[in-house]
Symmetry: C2
Subunit: 338 residues, 2 copies
Amino acid sequence: MADQYNVAIVGATGLVGQEFLKIAMQRGFPAGELRLLASHRSAGKKITVGERELEVQEATSKSFEGIDIAFFSATTEVSTALVPAAVKAGAIVIDDSSAWRMEENVPLVVPEVNAADLEGHEGIISIPNCPTTPLCQVLWPVHVVNPIKRIIVDTYQSVSGAGASAVNELNEQTRQVLDGHAVSPHVFPHQIAFNVLPQVDVFLGSGYTKEEWKIINETRKIMHEPELAISATAVRVPVYTGHSESVHVEFTRPINVEDFTKLVHAGPGITIQDEAAVNVYPTPRSVAGKDDTYVGRIRQDQSVDSGIAFWLVSDNLRKGAALNAIQIAEELIARKLV
Amino acid sequence: MADQYNVAIVGATGLVGQEFLKIAMQRGFPAGELRLLASHRSAGKKITVGERELEVQEATSKSFEGIDIAFFSATTEVSTALVPAAVKAGAIVIDDSSAWRMEENVPLVVPEVNAADLEGHEGIISIPNCPTTPLCQVLWPVHVVNPIKRIIVDTYQSVSGAGASAVNELNEQTRQVLDGHAVSPHVFPHQIAFNVLPQVDVFLGSGYTKEEWKIINETRKIMHEPELAISATAVRVPVYTGHSESVHVEFTRPINVEDFTKLVHAGPGITIQDEAAVNVYPTPRSVAGKDDTYVGRIRQDQSVDSGIAFWLVSDNLRKGAALNAIQIAEELIARKLV
């Protein structure tokens, strides 16, 4: 076990890559070399990280010599192409793409839920899709004492989940609408400014989107419940950062609001913000930039026995991506797995 | 039965009142006198309706002499105060507020669902809350052949549901955020620009908002199913016009996507817009200004037997309010009830 770890960040110039560097500094992550990798287009760019000024290099299969931990947050294509080279060079990969998540020998990890799955890793660890992570984090402390029978989740996902170009598109389209100009969508299939789109990622055959299947299949894998009944509708909203989810969950045995709240509150990295009388609940604007997952609007689900309805919000760039990855790296170090 | 009907519009200067006048002209509603009523503040204002220029008068208990049909779209307080005077003066009231909806002798009507309830009216007819109307309209044609067991609905409601001042607030706050200025909320409890709020209307004791209870109780009343299992989360999104709803519904017997789609498609005033392969589904932006309720994203609910998940969008000022009111007036005329 070294005192410091050489870390490569693939996608260092992206929204999640930048957040990764910020959080690593904030938490004093024991990074030796920080190797910033990105596409050819970004190579040569200078980025200040803490007190170091670092130059971005093009990510290639030869980029990983001497690296202990490689964090990938680029496209699925980049992860598919370069992750095997990083593993071959001796790095442990923590991958933010969907390329490896459902592979049997790849742990898919939310540390608060299934850190133990890291023990069996073979070089690649995946982090879940951004709405999946907080959902599992919040439900797990209740599930272990009162198993879940069914989850229905409808999301309100911010544009930063689709990258910097999506944030620019929201800005640009918003100005165009305010100024009475025509809008032409590029990143999203339809106008996102002052609109909501019931589509995140591409459609698959069954009428569900890939994003919805990710929520369903990844939740099952993380919770080790391959038959878990879960349905999702993933919706994009004109918000910069912060994914919100309206969740309706049925448990095996009756549970009241007080007990549900107590169990969730005891879960690590969760803040309860639920004072209806004074209009207090989490919103993406209030949660952006925070590490915790925020939960509010907890109430009995009127439509079923043993049901609870609630609202959660998490910063999709932090707990939904970069923070979860760094927590995994910290866990690997604590477990002497790196 | 007269050939023409004298119509009073209380709240004539509001968003719904203006839409009511527009739709009445578009549909050639047989209006004799059009009496535009509003608060003291708007009295004296001139409004052009078709070829007439009309002056807004202050709404008082003396405003309804000679009126056949009075449409109320003001506050609950105004409806509570003035509706009895309108009925006493001999008018039939079609009320858009929540003041009278749950009264036993007040029909609460979506014409496509329960027009027959108009027969028993005693002078007051209520129209449902804006997200309730399209939900009942879409589910009814399926419910009559395969009864609903449970509905879960999460909404994405536009700001125009809260009136013109809410639209102004979204505009103003959006500019402030783009220009990097601080935002102070007035109409909504928190910033609505680039944000979503899991609160519509005020909170009630059980942790549900009044809006959520409206969806639950009004759906039960309209469908004549007082025990219907239904749960709702009502969420405000930064959209001008058009309420969207993500719906998960369980039926008594299995139903597939094709049969569900056929039944809904056969319902009056409904357009199916559901071609996932080419990213076609309704959005508030595409539906604003339309009379129909639009349905897309129809798929099996993966999490339950006999379940269907879908997405609907309707113009909250039209089918959610003014259009539904005019359709009720037309139905009253057709049934010789006025």
